[in-house]
């Protein structure tokens, strides 16, 4: 019994020493940049962002311009041909970057914020009824299958805008991260510097926002990139099932239309191939960046990463 106390003590101490070594070591951006994978990811993401921002300059036509002849083969005017509705595939591909990035950014943000708030509240109020209720909610959210939930939520919407997709993705993906953040907050909450802040007269809000949250940045960042990756994939999946916003030009809707129009039977395999490649490129970029972020919170993975 007595020894148990030591055990914990020494553990805490070594944790602190590790934290110390990290803290006094390279800065976070050095750590991320040090990883070859992350570097590739950042460059790749940069390309995508550029593509999205400069879409009007790069794309020959608007993605939703359907005024061309349907099913044209690749040509000078249409590098990848046109869709059955007469849209330029290459232009759609480029404009589609915008939607995916938008969904990634805001879907990731929304899910992260939701998870963070719920995790924070229940972690900080650990053991109270609020924590119990939120815990139950989290558990339920974890066991309810997502797809039918999405279908229900989607069926409700008269207008399927990208924002609605983002909302739905956020709503279905907060539970897991919220749980891990709760655990993280509970360990942080028992750290000495939090007690010290209490002694310094800081209120709960100040402690959470100025002492605890900054400690979680790498976790939150990793969570954000994870959620963004998930959101982009989810948008594609939803769109593929026809549950997305069919008006917007996204890679998911491109795949959906290609599949619906029997693109493969018509030999229009480019239409199916390229959106999937673009999608996986973007997800790859985010995943690679997350490798770098992992190195911050997990120095063991760091050596020669």
């Amino acid at each position: 019994m007595a020894e148990n106390t030591i055990d914990e003590g020494s553990l805490e101490q070594s944790e602190a020493q590790i934290a110390d070594r990290i803290a006094s070591g390279p800065t976070w951006y050095q750590v991320i940049w040090s990883s070859k994978k992350a570097r590739v990811g950042i460059v790749l993401l940069g390309l995508y962002v550029l593509l999205a921002l400069a879409a009007p300059l790069i794309a020959p036509y608007r993605g939703d311009d359907t005024s061309f002849g349907p099913v044209e083969l690749p040509s000078q005017a249409h590098w990848m041909g046109t869709t059955t509705q007469g849209a330029d595939i290459f232009s759609q591909l480029i404009w589609g970057t915008r939607v995916s990035l938008l969904v990634g950014l805001f879907g990731g943000l929304f899910a992260t914020v939701l998870a963070l708030v719920i995790g924070l509240v229940s972690g900080y109020l650990e053991g109270t009824w609020v924590d119990d209720v939120l815990g139950l909610l989290t558990n339920v959210a974890l066991v309810v299958p997502t797809l039918p939930l999405i279908i229900t939520l989607m069926a409700y919407s008269e207008v399927r805008s990208v924002w609605f997709t983002i909302l739905v993705i956020g709503i279905i993906s907060w539970a897991g991260p919220a749980r891990s953040k709760r655990a993280q907050i509970i360990t942080l909450r028992h750290r000495d510097f939090v007690t010290a802040a209490k002694f310094a007269g800081d209120g709960t809000g100040t402690i959470i926002f100025r002492e605890i949250l900054p400690q979680m940045t790498s976790l939150v960042a990793a969570g954000f990139f994870g959620a963004a990756t998930g959101a982009i994939g989810a948008e594609a999946g939803l769109s593929f099932l026809g549950l997305g916003n069919v008006e917007s030009v996204s890679w998911g809707t491109m795949l959906y239309q290609a599949q619906l129009q029997g693109a493969l039977a018509q030999g229009l395999w480019i239409w199916l191939l390229v959106p999937g490649l673009m999608l996986s490129g973007l997800i790859m970029a985010l995943t690679l960046i997350n490798f770098g972020i992992d190195l911050i919170s997990n120095p063991h993975l760091r050596e020669d990463a």
Partner: protein, 328 residues
């Protein structure tokens, strides 16, 4: 209240909450199932025959009483194990419909899950052990890349390449000419049909296990007991297997227990793409066709699967990790 009872209580509470949600989800959806059914049966460009809708309504039966009464009735029939008749397979009972789809999913998803787990764990462990080697890079980068691919997209490409162009594999369904049963012809037929879906699952399945195992193993390799084992002169292979892998396996095994619970949800996207007659496809159909009784039963199955898997994973952890036996 004792710890044990609390756990069971929590389990039941979650179950109740999930079951209630399950009751509400379909009821919150707009649209009249009878109308939906008739429209679905007659197709998009077709006249809606009010007589057919009337008949369909009579067939499906109107829900009785207010929402509370429906809810109580629902709970009561759940307790009796009565899930009613499926709408889209009317008049087949939901249990029978699910019973037909269950083996397909169990076999396809179960087998690929087991194989993925074994393969992923072994590869992950090996990559961690040979960290920074060529093998490690190939496995890590490769699985990361595969992990970024969308399952339905791979499925479509495989269908195109090996189904349409090469014609090596059937492109839809679970079997074709043979009669289901324990006969060689059927088993071969079913195997032939499940190759492509299984390939997709086997491509994507191991990714999570590989990366998870690799990470935990790398962390474990840093532990003092590994260093001690080296100091003891324990051969490398034993260190890798008995020390590092044995410890790193713990989270993977609990993960496996959870994943097994998830089997009951099927693989909606993949099964749909391959038109595979499993639970995932069934769920997609039930959702699209607003087959409430079927949808509810499937959801319930998934929920219970996940909950039980959670419980099992907890208990398993207790068995596998001596530390947990005391701690929790």
């Amino acid at each position: 209240m004792s710890y044990f009872l609390r756990r069971i209580g929590y389990f039941l509470l979650t179950l109740w909450a999930a079951v209630t949600l399950n009751f509400l989800i379909p009821r919150l959806q707009p649209g009249d199932p009878a109308e939906m059914m008739v429209k679905r049966l007659s197709g998009k460009d077709a006249e809606i025959d009010p007589a057919k809708i009337e008949a369909m309504r009579a067939m499906l039966g109107e829900p009785e009483g207010n929402l509370l009464q429906q809810y109580l009735g629902y709970l009561a029939s759940l307790l009796r194990g009565d899930f009613g008749l499926s709408y889209i397979y009317y008049p087949a009972p939901v249990t029978e419909v699910i019973g037909r789809a269950l083996p397909w999913t169990l076999v396809l998803v179960g087998v690929t899950l087991a194989l993925s787990f074994v393969l992923g764990t072994v590869l992950g462990a090996f990559a961690a052990w040979r960290r920074n080697s060529m093998f490690d890079s190939v496995v890590t980068i490769g699985s990361t890349f595969i992990g970024t691919l969308q399952s339905f997209w791979i499925a479509l490409l495989l269908l195109f390449a090996f189904g349409y162009v090469m014609g090596w594999f059937p492109t839809a369904g679970g079997y074709e000419a043979s009669t289901p049963g324990w006969n060689g012809a059927f088993l071969l037929d079913a195997l032939h049909h499940s190759v492509l879906p299984a390939v997709v699952l086997m491509l994507l399945g191991p990714v999570g296990w590989i990366l998870g195992m690799r990470n935990t193993m790398i962390m474990n390799l840093r532990e003092d007991y590994i260093r001690l084992a080296r100091a003891k002169g324990v051969p490398d292979r034993d260190i890798a297997l008995k020390y590092a892998a044995r410890n790193a396996l713990l989270p993977s095994i609990t993960g496996l227990a959870m994943a097994l619970g998830g089997i009951l949800g099927g693989q909606i996207l993949i099964e749909t793409t391959f038109d595979y007659p499993g639970l995932g496809r069934l769920m997609q159909q039930a959702a699209a066709g607003k087959d409430y009784p079927l949808l509810q039963a499937l959801l319930l199955l998934t929920i219970i699967g996940t909950l039980v898997a959670n419980l099992v994973a907890d208990m398993l952890y207790g068995v596998l990790d001596p530390r947990a036996r005391k701690a929790s």
